[in-house]
Amino acid sequence: MSTWKRNLLAAPVLLWIGLLVGVPMVLVVALSFLSRDNLGNIVYQFTLDNYRRVLDPIYLRVFWNSLLLALLTGVITLLIGYPVAYISANLPPRRRALALGLIMLPFWISSLLRTYGWMILLGNTGLINNLLLALGIVDRRVPMMYKFGTSLVGTAYMLLPFMVVAVFNSVDKLDRSLLEASYDLGASRRQTFFHITIPLTLPGIVGGFTLVFIPALGLYFVSDLLGGGNTVFLGNLIHTMATRGRNRPLAAAFSLGMVALALLVLSLYWKVSKDKSGEALFQ
């Protein structure tokens, strides 16, 4: 009885999460099995149509675009971010604090502003084109906006700090004596890096990948502003269907598809990191 009473303290928290995540998610699952009439009103009749449409080649293509974008974002941020994290973590204390501060600062800067910055850099009359013209490297303005690659640059740029911080934390925990032992036993720097450093920082790598992959699935304002809708991603599709398209059941089915992709990566994270709650991701 007394433990029951003590647990009653958690009621407001349970209510909050239950009402704002639990019930809405159940609603999405239910909606995904319903259909709609021509005006966009929900028709209460069980159907698997929405899932059949999700598997339609045209829509599978959208899944593939999003998956590819998220995977490439993960790989690119890792390739750029790992060295940054590794170098920063090994700096002397004062410069290390400065580097970490500069890495974290973008978390506070408006994400729209950071996307907009790329519109200014990559636009037809943008800074990079101005520079290339002025230097005589090109004689005509090079179109760089509204491509898959533009969305990729923007998404990777947006999420890069998450990767760096995740890897930084695990490099920081790395036991230096293991590296010295490896050198003492005659291993080269390269061998030590691939056989000791990488495996030991794997939790950070996988954690960073998870933190980058999940938002990359849904940063639709980045692909909207930089990709111009030329490549359709899940986020844009769901947004259009839920609002202007007025096809809420289909939007629900696609949202669940997105959640499934996120769970896929999370299960990988849980397997590698053994961080059961997933809380370590956000510290």
């Binding site: 433990t3 928290v13 998610m25 502003l113 200014i120 636009g123 009359t125 999940i214 849904g218 956000f282």
Partner: protein
């Protein structure tokens, strides 16, 4: 050999920071360009800033954003702190459950959260506006308050709490006079983070905004879709200055705490 690698490290880091801040700096720089186009630089001006203040839609969106951010920060600070503090009393199974639930809104893709809340509030016939915005923003803010306060609670020496109880303090007295003052700096820092996150949110806010209650980011997003205009640059620069003001505040609080120790 060692000096060489260090040299490489410095160069690589410098290049990385140029890459990280170049887009931000270009936005700021071009907010002062007299020309409407980024194609050329025709001199310095403050005209674009002047235009902002006469734009009613922007001023109104800014007002909505500030109200939503303040309410979100307040709600999240209370609920997040509550969840962290009661974790000291509930059973360990409940504690794990709370931990898991706090992570939930952070790992579900934001688009899916936004869509589900859109359907839910629609079904509840709740009018879209400040209320729906605050409730939805609390989803990604409360967990951060909870995590930051809990980390601070772990640092507290348990014996202080026990001696308070031994000396006859009631549980509520202990919470009020010992626990809350000790975690207060973490609560304030977390609340400022909530303020910044709420002011910056685009994805959930697009689904939650009502016809007459658009937040600033949602409005800025619609302006950006039209293309690059110096007015947007000026607006972004002002938002940037505002954010730096918040960071300055939070730094001040953290440093004070460090000196107090």
């Amino acid at each position: 050999m060692k000096a060489k690698t260090r040299g490489f490290g410095t160069v690589y880091l410098s290049l990385f920071f140029v890459f990280l801040y170049l887009p931000v700096l270009s936005v700021v720089l071009y907010s002062f360009n007299a020309s409407r186009s980024t194609a050329q630089w025709t001199g310095w001006t403050l005209d674009w800033y002047r235009q902002l203040f006469s734009d009613r839609a922007i001023v109104e969106a800014f007002r909505v954003s500030i109200v939503v951010a303040l309410l979100t920060a307040l709600l999240s600070a209370v609920l997040g702190t509550f969840a962290a503090v009661i974790s000291l009393w509930v059973t360990s199974r409940m504690k794990t459950a709370i931990q898991g639930m706090m992570i939930l809104p952070l790992i579900v893709p934001e688009v899916a959260l936004g869509v589900s809340l859109l359907f839910f509030f629609n079904a509840m016939r709740l009018p879209f506006g400040v209320l729906t915005l605050v409730l939805s923003h609390s989803l990604f803010c409360v967990p951060y308050v909870y995590i930051m306060v809990r980390l601070r609670l772990q640092e507290i020496d348990r014996s202080i709490l026990e001696s308070a109880l031994d000396l006859g303090a009631s549980t509520w007295q202990m919470v009020r006079t010992i626990i809350l003052p000790l975690v207060a700096p973490s609560i304030v820092t977390a609340a400022l983070l909530c303020l910044a996150m709420s002011l910056d949110d685009v994805i959930i806010s697009t689904y939650m905004s009502g016809p007459r209650s658009t937040t600033l980011p949602v409005h800025v997003f619609s302006m950006m879709r039209v293309g690059v205009t110096p007015k947007v640059n000026a607006l972004c620069t002002l938002i940037l200055i505002g954010t730096f003001f918040i960071i300055g505040l939070s730094q001040l609080i953290t440093n004070k705490r460090r000196f107090a120790k």
